[in-house]
């Protein structure tokens, strides 16, 4: 830890422009991904998020092929894919996985083609690595305003629709009975999700983008029982993971294997998100152990009465 502090204070961590841009982009994306991700987890749309990220690879690699910034490719493909998913019925839980899977399969074939051409035409696998696994250090400072605008737009959608979105997430029927246009709200959310995934893709890569979306949100759900607070906690967890990840990647320049230019930042970010998820389970475990003696058995009876079958995980863990 003292080594890390030394890295920050002595080697000009903040003086490096690539680092400053990476931290700024990472912060914006972590905040947006936290807020949007909480709803992704609550709505059970993690697979849709994953698919949007994978399909972003198709857009990103296509953009690279024609010489446009990958963010535009991620964005265009993500929004198009979200539109197709919406049209073929992602809102219905049963049709959701099927629709997503079908769109995903078709898109990834194109990604394979584009990445193959990228590698052959430019005689390097740099594009493949950048598109799929990202490099937040490679983002130019001129991209930051666009990232901010997109982030504010996605966050704006989720904050503006907060109550109707929450109500339709809990029960589409209850929301419809209250006069919420459930389908419209769901489509708007999917748009915000597509934009968020594109932002996450440009930060840690298309393939890894869901980690930033789902991981901090899933951790936050374990730490708080209030939906609004979960969005804040998820954003904070994302920021910690991104900042520490950037710091470790910066420091890893001196790590073995020597002369290889250090370890990729996406590896650190995703690993940290995973570790933070594991840690976030500890408070509940401690609480369960404390209450287990007098409350555990009662809750087991309640739960089994509701579902008709015992649910061991809620009583045991």
């Amino acid at each position: 830890m003292s080594g890390l502090l030394a890295a920050v204070t002595q080697t000009g961590f903040f003086a490096d422009e690539a680092v400053r841009v990476a931290l700024a982009v990472g912060t914006v994306v972590a905040i947006v991904a936290g807020a949007v991700g909480v709803f992704t987890v609550m709505r059970g749309q993690s697979f849709a998020g994953e698919a949007l990220g994978d399909l972003g690879a198709t857009g990103g690699s296509g953009a690279f092929l024609v010489g446009v910034g990958p963010l535009w490719g991620f964005l265009a493909m993500g929004i198009a894919a979200a539109g197709v998913m919406e049209l073929i019925g992602i809102q219905r839980p049963r049709g959701r996985d099927l629709a997503t899977g079908i769109v995903l399969g078709a898109g990834l074939g194109l990604a394979a083609l584009f990445l193959y051409w990228d590698a052959n035409l430019h005689n390097t696998t740099g594009a493949t690595i950048t598109i799929l696994f990202g490099s937040v250090f490679a983002i130019s400072s001129s991209t930051f305003p666009l990232v901010t605008v997109l982030g504010v737009a996605a966050l704006g959608i989720v904050l503006a629709l907060y109550r109707p979105l929450l109500l339709s997430t809990i029960s589409a029927e209850m929301a419809a009975a209250r006069g919420v246009p459930v389908r419209l709200v769901g489509a708007a959310y999917l748009l915000a999700l597509a934009v968020t995934v594109a932002l996450a893709a440009v930060t840690i890569g298309a393939i890894l983008s869901t980690a930033l979306l789902i991981g901090p949100a899933a951790s936050a759900l374990r730490l708080t029982k209030r939906p609004g607070r979960a969005m804040l906690v998820a954003g904070a967890i994302g920021i910690v993971a991104v900042w520490l990840g950037i710091l470790l990647a910066y420091e890893s320049y001196y790590w073995p294997p020597a002369g290889r230019g250090g370890w990729p930042v996406s590896f650190f970010v995703v690993t940290l998100i995973f570790l933070l998820y594991l840690i976030s389970g500890l408070p509940a475990r401690v609480r369960a152990r404390k209450q287990g003696s007098h409350r555990g058995n009662a809750s087991r009876v309640d739960v089994s009465r509701r579902t008709g079958e015992p649910r061991i995980e809620s009583a045991g863990s």
């Binding site: 909480v38 609550m42 904050l159 503006a160 629709l161 907060y162 109550r163 109707p164 929450l166 109500l167 809990i170 029960s171 029927e173 209850m174 929301a175 419809a176 009975a177 209250r178 006069g179 919420v180 936050a220 759900l221 374990r222 708080t224 029982k225 209030r226 939906p227 609004g228 607070r229 979960a230 809750s299 309640d302 739960v303 009465r305 509701r306 579902t307 008709g308 809620s314």
Partner: protein, 307 residues
């Protein structure tokens, strides 16, 4: 008297509506003097070529506790969706507080069927109840003392004050049911619709929820319409029963509707009504189960209990 009614029923008016029974005076629950909060008139619903509801008519007065009884597939959920304005009827009309389908959200509170939240959903009971206040509005709700007190009062009124801060998903079926009722009540509805609220409860839990709803109907003058496939938990509390079979309805007091002649006319073949230890049982009599208007009627084998 019974024969006269049977004659009336089979003479082309299979849905024993309010009109058919209005002459019965003493034992008929009276709507006279108060305008009905809900009136369903000749409602028919046809979905992809199948007649789900056919010529359904009944009315409910403020403060009345009504059971909507029918087996699975009888059209209970469809009828509730029509009343909510989520499903347009292909025939007939529905008036809520004298008004047609518009701005209905504020007058109707709704508790859907099969509500089960994941235990890890970050949603406290009080958050869910607060969404009943203004869940359809944009943005966040600003926290205020008045708001907190409204939520608190709604939770207390259903006896859910003790678990206001618990995650909804970790509550038992009966507890979740109470929270949902508080969610529906906080918007000050005049009509409360509940779709199979007793389905996941044991007998004791079902009795508690029925007592709670019946109390709310009497105290707050809120009309309660509750759908169920099993009528017995409701019999003691019901002011009115709407019995659905094969998409058609008979409505009146339990004594008026749950009778061999009325239900036989509704089912389109003979059924018997038995009383066993105070429980009402509808059983198939002699004769073959028949089709009504070409569609399948859920009908049990002889001796099997329908309700």
């Amino acid at each position: 008297m019974a024969e006269a009614r049977t004659g009336m029923v089979s003479a082309g008016d299979p849905s024993v509506g309010l009109e058919a029974l209005a002459g019965d005076g003493a034992e008929s629950s009276q709507l006279a003097g108060s305008e009905p909060i809900l009136s369903v008139r000749d409602v028919g619903v046809r979905l992809s070529g199948r007649q789900i509801l056919d010529d359904v008519s009944f009315a409910i007065a403020p403060g009345e506790f009504t059971g909507l009884i029918g087996s699975n597939g009888a059209g209970k959920t469809t009828l509730l969706r029509v009343i909510l304005g989520l499903q347009a009827p292909s025939a007939g009309s529905v008036l809520v507080a004298g008004r047609p389908r518009s701005q209905r959200e504020s007058t109707i509170g709704y508790v859907p069927q099969k509500f089960l939240l994941d235990p890890d959903m970050p949603m406290r009971a009080r958050d869910l109840v607060a969404l009943g206040l203004d869940g359809n509005r944009l943005g966040f709700a600003l926290p205020s003392r008045a708001r907190r007190e409204l939520v608190e009062r709604a939770l207390e009124s259903v006896g859910a004050g003790g678990y206001a801060d618990a995650r909804v998903g970790t509550l038992s079926g009966g507890e979740q049911q109470r929270v949902l009722i508080a969610h529906a009540l906080i918007g000050k509805p005049r009509l409360l619709l509940l779709d199979e609220p007793l389905a996941n409860l044991d007998l004791g839990g079902a009795d508690e929820v029925v007592a709670l709803l019946s109390g709310i109907a009497q105290r707050e003058r809120i009309a309660v319409l509750i759908s169920a496939h099993e009528m017995n938990p409701l019999v003691s509390a019901m002011d009115r029963i709407v019995y659905l079979a094969g998409g058609r309805a008979a409505s009146g007091t339990t004594e008026e509707v749950v009778r061999a002649d009325v239900l036989s006319a509704l089912y389109g073949h003979h059924v018997d009504v038995l009383r066993v230890h105070g429980r009402l049982l509808v059983v198939a009599g002699a004769g073959e189960p028949s089709d009504l208007d070409g569609h399948e009627v859920a009908f049990p084998a002889a001796g099997e209990v329908v309700s």
